[in-house]
Symmetry: C2
Subunit: 228 residues, 2 copies
Amino acid sequence: MNIPVIRNVLEESDALARENRATFDQHGVFVVNLMGSPGSGKTTLLLQTIPRLQERGFSCAVIEGDIATTLDSERLAPLGISVVQANTEPFGGDCHIGSHLIKSALAYLDLKDIRFLFIENIGNLVCPAEFYLGEDRKVVLLSITEGEDKPLKYPLMFRECQACLITKTDLIPHLDVDMALLEKNIRNINADLEILPLAAKYDEGIHRWLEWLMQNLETAGKRVGVKS
Amino acid sequence: MNIPVIRNVLEESDALARENRATFDQHGVFVVNLMGSPGSGKTTLLLQTIPRLQERGFSCAVIEGDIATTLDSERLAPLGISVVQANTEPFGGDCHIGSHLIKSALAYLDLKDIRFLFIENIGNLVCPAEFYLGEDRKVVLLSITEGEDKPLKYPLMFRECQACLITKTDLIPHLDVDMALLEKNIRNINADLEILPLAAKYDEGIHRWLEWLMQNLETAGKRVGVKS
């Protein structure tokens, strides 16, 4: 088994990610990579978040990652924003978005008009954490239905991210789940991770999430205020 | 990029899986590979299934796959069966169980005394579907909370499996979910897939699942009745 070959592939991936980042910085685009298991609520979060950013005068776009189908892009269509669907099925059904796909997607976006670019990664709590795409922030969504032990069992994702959204908290009354234990397990893996409970269906927690986005847009050093 | 290297790795993986299968057949062990997203209910299913198989006189064992921790093995300890924990973190945090890990795990199991061997794969709806381990049957667990569109968006898993357990159906009254649409989407990908709705916490659906296991033990051509 020829290890150096695999290393070259990763190096190439990182080099492309750095190119993407330089492009984002040049245009003052703040990029958030949303990751999490299938059904953790990534698309629902975008449907709740983007209209509120638009209300504040910020233009948004989405790169929608899926193995197959354009279902998520279709859900986002009513927002009237630029959405690029990146499907990995033609590339062997890759389990994560690669930096080469982001680079290809950028050809379809007019970055000078975009302030927030969301990458909705493929539903997978493991592999996407391994790949830098050029984003400013990594965010993991964990559905409360997945159980308190997941941060311990899938530690890399929780180490790599800057925020963890705990979604579907409206289901807590119907589950045997210990929220304090879940938060303790998250802190055990990454004491600096911002924990944001959220029931996007009912708007709960959205305000704190928007504030987090605003603060991070600023600390990322993008040219805040230059464009809306 | 040296494609032949990757092909060789897959060929080696398949060769080891065929060796595993020959070992299982030699000892009349029926092997089920359980797959699904993190929190889809794989460990809970084992906790409900194994005591009922034991009541019927069948001996069971589990190979427990995780990236990190022995949490799931500890949950299974009260069953008093052989459990081998296979962690991938020392192997770069692999996102699936490989046939080499199964082969290594077999050294810790006395196969002549085992009728049912369950492999609990790593929580991931994508990658585990790509790897044959030597099992007799592949089963996917999909939590009802994950949404109706998942079979369309993660098609390989649903193509590769022989049964799909739809878990946590006790939550249906609290969700906006269309069970008929979910079943239609599954059939769209794989018309032959056995669909088994299940609320393991409340014993619902367990009877049909046990019957499915019994039928498949027989049709797999293992030496039924030779040992219990």
